[in-house]
Symmetry: D2
Subunit: 341 residues, 4 copies
């Protein structure tokens, strides 16, 4: 069999571990051949390929990023996108495709499967917001990076009386904020799932100030105040005319400073959370995802995606996989609230 592999969407530690596992088992156990497509769906769309054999995957396990490149190119937005991909796969002699990516990438995979392409999906979302799997790789790495940053702030916080605010990733789901905040002992965690009450945040901060320790607030980039609470300053527009996303960290710092009369400083971790070497958890998960994805392709079990359930890797339908966003349930947030203030 000749199998194509591509990685789409944002960066995520563990992508290379998936690629390596697919190729190592595919070549070593099954004798398949591989071709890499460059930059997500742009690869098969423009027939941009790269060699993908055992030599190509040597030494990539610990590396962040993806040796295949990535992009957000969406062929479904082109009139002839699907047709061109099918044509190019034929031209390249590709029998099956392993697509590693998030909601968008897997949405395309599903559509291609409906149109007769033999495709297996591997889920990737650093935000851990995919309902079909217990965890996705990259998430554990992001949480550890954020936790280590907050750990460092604690010692600063102990010596000085100021509020420290850390903005972490999470536009629609607060998993990174929840886990990093819980792991690092934040005094307040704000997530997109639950609009925050600024009065309550200030209450926690002031309660903390009483203890001689300074408050640390972890805020997901997608968190927002109760309607009408914080005067929303215009965030300006970016070079492309879009209203700037994010900025909640700085806005919160301003508001907290105004209300408490004490300094507030913020840190924006940004892309640091998605780069660099993956943690052991993510490397093992990504490797196992890769091993099971090549098994599925070898078995001819197409239209499926691999997923983690407990400690097992299972196969689920691509349709199911992309159906629903996994947000933080109320009871998980409640667990964390015990430590607020």
């Amino acid at each position: 069999m000749r199998i194509g592999v591509l990685t789409g969407g944002g960066d995520c530690p563990g992508l290379n571990a998936v690629i390596r596992a697919v190729v190592r088992k595919g070549v070593g156990e099954y004798g398949h051949e591989f071709v890499g497509f460059r930059d997500g769906w742009r690869g098969p769309l423009e027939c941009d390929t790269q060699q993908l054999d055992v030599a190509a995957v040597r030494g990539i396990l610990p590396r962040g990023g993806t040796i295949l490149g990535s992009s957000r190119t969406n062929p479904l937005k082109l009139d002839d996108g699907v047709e061109r991909i099918k044509e190019n796969l034929r031209k390249e002699g590709v029998d099956a495709l392993i697509a590693i990516g998030g909601e968008d990438t897997l949405g395309v995979a599903r559509r291609l499967y409906d149109e007769g392409v033999s495709v297996v999906g591997v889920p990737k979302t650093i935000d851990n917001d995919l309902n079909a799997t217990d965890y996705t790789f990259g998430f554990d790495t992001a949480v550890n990076i954020a936790m280590e940053a907050i750990d460092r702030l604690h010692t600063t916080a102990e010596s000085h009386h100021r509020t420290l605010i850390v903005e972490v990733m999470g536009r629609h789901a607060g998993w990174i904020a929840l886990h990093a905040g819980m792991a690092a002992g934040a005094n307040c965690i704000l997530i997109p799932e639950k609009p925050f009450d600024i009065d309550r945040v200030v209450h926690y901060i002031e309660k903390r100030f009483e203890t001689r320790y300074a408050p640390i607030v972890v805020v997901a980039e997608g968190a927002h105040p109760l309607e009408g609470q914080m005067e929303v300053q215009d965030q300006g527009r970016d070079a492309f005319g879009h209203v700037r996303l994010g900025g909640i960290g700085q806005r919160l710092a301003d508001e907290v400073e105004r209300r408490t009369g004490k300094e507030a400083r913020f840190t924006v971790l940004g892309h640091i959370q998605r780069g660099g070497t993956p943690t052991a958890f993510d490397r093992v998960l990504a490797t196992r995802f890769g091993l099971h994805a090549i098994d599925a392709a070898h078995d001819g079990d197409f239209g499926t995606m691999v997923a983690l359930r407990g400690t097992d890797i299972v196969r689920v339908g691509l349709a199911e996989a992309t159906a629903e966003l996994k947000t933080v349930p109320y009871e998980r947030y409640e667990e964390a609230e015990v430590f607020f203030g």
Copy 2:
């Protein structure tokens, strides 16, 4: 309610996170009072206590070790052990006990429960070899420490032609070796569950030498060769007259060097794997274990132990918890074998 807390057995990153969660929720939500017992079961046996309130658990979340101390004291080995503990608990006015520990500690907890003591267990084994729970805290930290060590060896291995052998923890179960070896790209992983064939190990090593990269072998301390294969040198006896455990790393290095005619070096990670700050995974798991353990105590659901199933924390009977050792199943080892050689 007045609740006693103790930690028993070997060190494990996350113990303090459990203690903190128990106390924070117990005081803050339920209004309970706590007393710490020193050094595992020695504490209630000798009525050695320490203050355990919100102030006492401040700042301990990121710290390794346990603020309560630990020991391997087993009251079941004393004629009047159980009686003395019951007596001391009464004397201290303790209504319930939360025991954090491994097989031995929980075995005592179970026995005490059978004798009418109100006890809740929290499982702790760095080796992850407890069947009732998907994971135990400390394991993820140990795996990451071992992985980082092996990562560092890789660059050395690339520059020189020698075999590098890393001995990791795991007397009866190879989980740490399996995960660390898989995460770090070991060329061979040896675990207690499967006696190794030294000829096969040497075969992998020599196959690897052909690639210009040097071989890295991860060996669990409890791994052993097929019967009759390696001449077992006497490891001597320790200060207490016991035959020394361990040493498999060095013995393997000797044997490999002899058979390949190329240098072999070994590293023994030892206690480094059980010390220091826990990873985010372990801090979140330990914190959630603590929160659910105090819930169980508050609910009067004694004789139970908290456990992880998928992403949920559940309660299982103490009997079930300690019934069976969780060893690496064949199919998990097989996954890793894809990368051998």
Copy 3:
């Protein structure tokens, strides 16, 4: 002798290592007694003390922050500040004072010395901008934290075509930006000592884009463009009515995005750089500073400050110590420019 110790100014990894070394040698070798003053000069000003003996310094070596607390209280701004301090030192029976801090703290120390107080200084500036010493502790830690963050950005940068901008500490001197940028392979480093030409920065960025790798720009918080070049948006005022400092990272990202037509993202490391456990370099330097400071006090060599020259710790006059800011010399910046673009 009864010796007072205080730490003043901003946080800096290594403060606890200095305190520990002072006390361990002072008690163990010389038999002196110690008293800690809380929160920098506020301590002796308000006679706020804390116990400082061998037990108090146990376990603090690896910890960030300072067990004595800190503040920016400046007694010279009070009419009777110096008098009150002298009075309180007398009252506490303090024979000598060891003051650990930056320019401001040591400026007070110098003034007190001129007024007859027996004082020894230990230099502390995370920015490494003190002329009298080769390095100050805390700097190496800050540089490593920034470097690790930039390392992580590299893998993200490799997978996507966008500019990544990292704002690091350094209001008046660009040492952290220079070292972190050089260590992590930044494509452009901007420091306060040399106003930057935005055209040139954009030139480096576009040159880098040609290589399929994305550009990473490290900018010190005190860096600024050539006069008239970048339209300076009003940064607003903080809760205290001061014009906000900083923000250069975001402004630069906006400008670069506008000029290149490609996304630019920024990260503000903020206080993360000053918190957490110190590196080995900083722990050894801080420990040696402490050992030599207590020697100076024991010798009665007051009005001096310890300093690093090559691998030796020497004593210099407090006057010399605070005389001049150490900025990045042209030839050091030139070394780094080799790697721009």
Copy 4:
């Protein structure tokens, strides 16, 4: 000019940073051309070369090991070694050679220079035992790795009463043991420069046991007891018939266990100390060494080696460079002794 580059001797974090700096400045500023020789002196001896241009050094700054490979091949041990190298350099059109390595590598460089070869040296010794330079790259990385390991042991040590012994690198000089032990708060440090008195070591250990904290002993692999003190067990011979070096960690653990009647555990860090990504200090030093080495070659200043003096990079004669071993002076060891026990 066409310039050859080689790396000889043991692994050392920072080698790639030197190579990158040499090539980036050599090509970008001076327009020179480069050729890499494989595996130290084996390269020019057997004319084994590899391409070395700007593309070849991209992304190598953070990587451990050396892209040129290394070996301990010594051409001076061959009758015609020097002649063959001169012949091959001629054949390859090499005008100058930059040799990066330790005492042995630089000894060959010096001999070649005496025979008319245009050579510039870059010092490399992870043990930091070269007298001509304040520091060598790799040392800071090794010290940090050892320190982090010892940090982890501290929390284990706090919970249990046993002695923990860490064996670190250092055959002839105790710099790594001294700095790592000082940075991590070891209770006793043993170095090759000063034969240790086992009675004194046991005294420190027992003193420490009194404090409820457990003792941590850092021992350099080349440390040894006072003559006649410890019964030296036969360490056996390796595959090549040599008496095994090392083993002091284990022997010490046995002896301490026997004498104190309490468990003693040891950890051998081994090659972990020489692998992996370099610290910021080492990357900056290695980069600056590279920049100054290519300057020296460009200037035609051959027979020299670059060295660090304070914060400056200077050139010294190769003869001077290799003249003397830099051991730990008495007063530096004395500083550390303050913390023993």
